[in-house]
Symmetry: C2
Subunit: 452 residues, 2 copies
């Protein structure tokens, strides 16, 4: 009998409840504030944006939340996802480390994002929403929400960052295939978009601007609500199916992780993998969040109240931020471009319970190509950030003779991102290191709220 | 307990032997002929192109061929693949039919092609090959062989049909990520390519021309051999892991198919799914091969000896063919563009044991979008041909009150083919119906060999 490569779970072992880390850890999150009054937000303030059931999930202290049957029915299309022991990569690296990856790229949209998109579409339909708006950058989130809306019969409007809209027509076609309307942002449809276009008719857009537009449009129409693909508590919670499955699969493998590594943009993939290991393990692994050096929110940002969007129409939350007007350099190819970060993850980083690391993009793509040649799967550039640090640790172990068990999240495949690989293979990608002044200037643009 | 959606197999249930239908059916295949002498080919004639172990597999009458451990090690990265009951699609169609799809898009290259690419790379390395050449159209096969070569340390040169090379840069980037060299065909590197370029410097290329170039280059260098992604007996045999798994999974589902449907280009995906059901079932299902109306080899071609490539350097085989100079219309977006077909499948079609159907591309994409909205997965345009006929049969059942069990192959995902979806969504795809004279002219171009 060969040693196992995968550790499959039966369909009956898909988690039937999401895990809420907030119930187990006293994270003392600062309350989100209203973007104009800076008063703490109540459920009523959020009602224009989110349906009641998701607002309740956002605030809950309940430890486990049952996953509705209709959501499980959809999860069953691709879940449980594989946990794979990267035996070929281990051999290639000559390491004594045991490397496992949890692979979310088997979802129909090719990433982990449908775990929450499907849940959000379900609750919105149940609570009477007719249409959802959202923003997307590289397109992972937009296509996941388009998919969720197709499953539950909702209309879907996606504001897609202009530069991605032009450079990634395939992502746009995927969203349209699922029936969504895709609008390049900034657009003349919203006040926020018109304001940006008035300043710069050729604006490439940003995630923060696209959020402003999607939020504005949702607030203007009672049948329309807004969906966010990361950052918020309930979004992170929906993603915990990843870590819950991975824990069970590692148990089947007879192993226990010393390190759990996830890439970090807004925090949904990272938290989905890591939170169950943070809250439910008697022997907690070292947890590492990996972000791009070109958007170094956790490692070089400030922990402060900031707007969730560029125009200042979204709630103000306490988080690690580079300032809500931050835009990563054009040269950056690897996704994970959000200026802010999930408040729950921010709290854990500030307390030293999660380690944050930033990596340059050439190292990221070098690791991705190495992984692809050994394991076959071409990682999404986002996911490759986790691959990069996992390989670093495995090489370290090869030198020291250590034998750590390393679990990392492979949040998606890179089949929509081969343009970035092409740039890397053609030697066109450069690393970008921000001068300290550039970061200082970026983070100086914060709302006038006390951060005490 | 919910009714199951998927029917997972344990890693230990990956088939350990390929199935050779030729051992069970007396197909009386006409011998392949030398392209210049028209004498029957012996093993020696093939030795310049293929390694001894694959030539032996091509000729064997053995019923099951053990899969080498090193190949199984690679299969384990993504196999067993899912068998999914399309319950959401069934509901959407209001049909009493039970629809199952066997999904090969979970492989790292996104299609079924690695099943044979990995095996071919393994045997070539074992038999001393240093480099493999091949051709690719849309890119599924080229990226699969690039992957196989990366796993087994072989160099890989892929001749990619010029029009795809220009239109599908992402496929090219995938092959390069796996370390392959990608050459647009026709190229000035070969006599076959130079001849075409001399006639038409702007030639868009064709699969037949690319085969000529890859074969020529392999024959010119002793360390270089050639790999074909379809048509040949051993290639079809490697793909039978698909059908062998599907049979076991349907058994677990407590079901038995009345129809087995596969899309048809050269025949590898079709045969991989269908052959185990043809040769091993006491109660044989109705077997349907679905091809594009724009390349109607099985439904409008002739059953005759023809060259496998355009320039006439590849062996001459008896098969359904549209003539080796056939090029599908540019408007055709759905892959499956080969002028010929697998001799084994051709024999079964000629005997009426396999039913062939041709479908127009608008119906194909309509079915694909319907499937995507219900099941999430966006099918490769090739695979969507099978989806189209499966949906037709299910709708038929809805009318008649029948309750057939329908199994179809979903050979790959469409994430690399969203350009075709975009054309469809923009209303730019047209159906193409060949006038009878055009087909008659195409098939008139055959070698002067008796087809008695």
């Amino acid at each position: 009998m060969k040693e196992s490569t995968k550790f499959p779970l039966a369909e009956s072992e898909i988690p039937t409840a999401w895990y809420n880390l907030g119930a187990d850890l006293e994270l003392a999150l600062a309350p989100p504030l209203h973007p104009r009054t800076f008063e703490p937000l109540g459920p009523d303030d959020l009602a224009a944006l989110f349906p009641p059931s998701l607002i309740e999930q956002e605030m809950t202290r309940q430890r486990f939340i049952d996953i509705p049957g209709e959501v499980l029915d959809v999860y069953r299309l691709w879940r449980p996802t594989p946990l794979v022991r990267a035996r070929r990569l281990e051999r290639e690296l000559g390491t004594g480390a045991r490397l496992y990856y949890k692979y979310e790229g088997v979802s129909p949209a090719g990433s982990h994002k449908p775990n929450t998109a499907v849940a959000q579409a379900y609750y919105n339909r149940r609570d009477g929403t007719r249409r959802l708006t959202t923003e997307t950058g590289a397109g992972q989130w937009g296509s996941a929400l388009a998919l969720g809306c197709a499953f539950f019969g909702l209309e879907c409007t996606v504001y897609m960052v202009r530069v991605s809209y032009d450079q990634k027509p395939y992502r746009k076609a995927l969203m349209r295939t699922y029936g969504a309307q895709v609008v390049p942002s900034p657009s003349p449809r919203t006040a926020a978009g018109r304001e940006v276009l008035a300043r710069d008719a050729a604006s490439p857009g940003s995630l923060g601007i696209a959020i402003s537009e999607a939020v504005e449009e949702a607030m203007a129409d009672p049948g329309t609500r807004y969906a966010l693909g990361s950052v918020l508590n309930h979004v992170l919670m929906h993603q915990t199916v990843i870590g819950l499955e991975a824990r069970r699969q590692l148990e089947l493998a007879g192993d226990h992780p010393d390190f759990v590594i996830g890439c970090f943009g807004g925090g949904s993939n990272f938290a989905g993998l890591a939170f169950p290991f943070i809250g439910l393990e008697a022997r907690r692994p070292q947890i590492i969040a990996v972000e791009p050096a070109a958007c170094p929110t956790l490692t070089r940002g400030v922990y402060a109240y900031d707007y969730g969007d560029s125009a200042g129409v979204a709630p103000v939350v306490r988080m690690y931020t580079l300032g809500h007007r931050f835009i990563p350099p054009r040269i950056h190819a690897g996704g994970l471009r959000y200026h802010g970060s999930a408040p729950m993850v921010s709290a854990l980083v500030s307390r030293g319970e999660v380690l944050a690391r930033a990596v340059g993009q050439r190292a990221v793509f070098e690791a991705a190509v190495r992984f692809a040649k050994a394991e076959g799967i071409v990682p999404a550039p986002e996911s490759a950030h986790a691959v990069c640090v996992a390989i670093d640790l495995a090489c370290e172990a090869a030198k020291t003779g250590g034998e750590p068990c390393i679990l990392f999240g492979l949040s998606g495949h890179g089949h929509f991102d081969m343009g970035a690989y092409q740039s890397y293979l053609d030697g066109e990608l450069e690393d970008y290191a921000y001068p300290a002044e550039a970061i200082a200037q970026a983070v100086s643009c914060l709302p006038g709220v006390s951060n005490a």
